[in-house]
Symmetry: C2
Subunit: 307 residues, 2 copies
């Protein structure tokens, strides 16, 4: 049996943040259901931020309760920016909570309005609260700007290691290294994974890469080679970062799954069904351009799914 790689499609959260048009709640539920029908085990379905901050995601609580009821089996993840958000997500019944914590000061202040040190203190409160509950809900911290920042520029490996160490010491059990603005390159990805892992071991959980400069898939390849088995992706590479003009969205789910399955990793995902999901996404958000090479080229006749 091939080794399993876990894909979390973050499109309904990360992909919609800067979309110019709104997607209805019904269309979001259809899209999420189609992702699960294609075999995607986990979906980040929204964000517990105040509605005025990201109007696109103002229906997150409703989305969560609907997909919990209507898409049984799906691992439902939502983003929370702080303790209150995490509590709301928990009370909403999500299975997993993602929390972005910036490595760089500039992004931290612009995106979260606090310093990285403040964030570590906050995460201690979050983890203490979560551990006091009678239901276990894993918290995945996204170490944002772990490979570079559109505001501060270079982020050193040392900075990323220090933040991740602080988070692990505060009780965080899962960290996604996030190339929020898409500046990472393969040699850096290898260096950062090894350096962080040497400090906090298996707390290094996954990679969340953007394809801004065209290296998203290559950076994920390095992750796989380094033993990473969890990736955030986005159907059709939807999205982008408000702090990186011209930046592309997350790594394209279809293209990464194609690579992983071709290489003999098992994702449980059916590529043809992902194309159906693209059609559903397009119907719900017709003005948004869809990226991805595989969908243009179609699945080559040489493709064999991992067993």
């Amino acid at each position: 049996m091939s080794e399993f790689v876990s894909i979390c499609d973050v499109g309904p959260r990360d992909g919609l943040q800067i979309a110019k048009t709104r997607m209805t709640t019904d269309d979001k539920v259809k899209w999420i259901a189609s992702l699960y029908a294609a075999g995607i085990p986990e979906v980040e379905v929204g964000s517990y931020v105040p509605p005025r901050v990201i109007p696109q995601l103002s229906d997150t609580a409703e989305i969560v309760s609907r997909v919990l009821a209507e898409v049984p089996g799906l691992v439902v993840q939502a983003l929370a920016p702080n303790l209150r958000g995490a509590q709301n997500a928990f009370n909403g019944g999500v299975h997993k909570i993602s929390m972005p914590i910036s490595v760089s000061e500039g992004h931290s202040k612009a995106n979260l309005n606090r310093t990285p040190a403040d964030s570590i203190a906050m995460m201690k409160d979050v983890m203490d609260w979560m551990k006091a509950q009678d239901r276990h809900v894993p918290v995945i911290v996204g170490a944002s700007t772990a490979f570079g920042c559109s505001i501060d520029g270079i982020v050193t490996t040392k900075q990323t290691v220090a933040l991740c160490k602080g988070l692990a010491d505060a009780g965080v059990e899962h960290i996604m290294l996030a190339d929020t603005v898409g500046y990472a390159h393969p040699a850096q990805v290898k260096e950062v994974i090894r350096a962080v892992r040497s400090e906090i071991g298996p707390v290094v959980y996954g990679l969340h890469m953007h394809d801004t400069c065209g290296l998203g898939i290559a950076n994920c390849l390095v992750g796989v080679e380094e033993g990473i088995r969890a990736f955030d992706t986005c159907l059709a590479g939807l999205g982008g970062c408000p702090y990186a003009p011209g930046a592309s969205g997350n790594v394209v789910t279809e293209d990464l799954v194609f690579m992983l399955e071709s290489m003999g990793f098992r994702t449980g995902i059916d590529l043809e069904k992902l194309f159906v999901s693209r059609d559903i996404l397009h119907a719900g958000l017709p003005a948004e351009p869809l990226s991805g090479q595989l969908a243009k080229a179609k699945i080559p006749p040489t493709f064999r799914k991992a067993a």
Copy 2:
């Protein structure tokens, strides 16, 4: 000093083959000159095929003589399909000749109208003729469909090794492993490079990858990791393959150079000047869509050129 990686931009040949509109000879010369001005050391400027086969490239002889005179310093490469083409290229004064030889029977017959075995016999004649001349012009054989074929489907590593071994035995000194239709995946690229190299050693010269399924850059990364130091690329990812509907062009020069320089490999290429070259290409071929992530996002502030 960083290690050098050699880029050959094959756009004026591979990129134009299926372009819907014609580019004038003057515009081609401007484009080629701008590539060299950006630091690209080698350009494949055309193809010595009969003009009726690829009308876009019917001015190849004129292009060769003009760029030899007007772009001093550029290594001028042209494609030749057979002995007569190679002789014409040689007599035209090119510095390097590329010759495509298909691994798969189906592509060989469709593209070259002969079997792979015929091609090996032909290459012996070509190499014998070349070695009898008083000027040394390297011949680079592109082992086409080395990773899969849109006609025959799967191409086994064994087939590719056998063809490359036959070519080396026939006197061929440089082989580019070519993913003509863009079906390769990273594990396969590693396997094929290792298998071919174990048979013919340093005759394995470079990689020529297409980005059909989104894995072009990741496949090149594997090449770099395996010690490959020569790549064919295409500014703006121009082109495609007439035998792979929906297929994209070659790996995008800008994106690959960005990756290599970021990783500490020296290419001698200036990315900002490549963007100027894109403008010149676009002016000469306005109907053709340009690909590439870096040009959309611009060079990130974290980028440092290799020293």
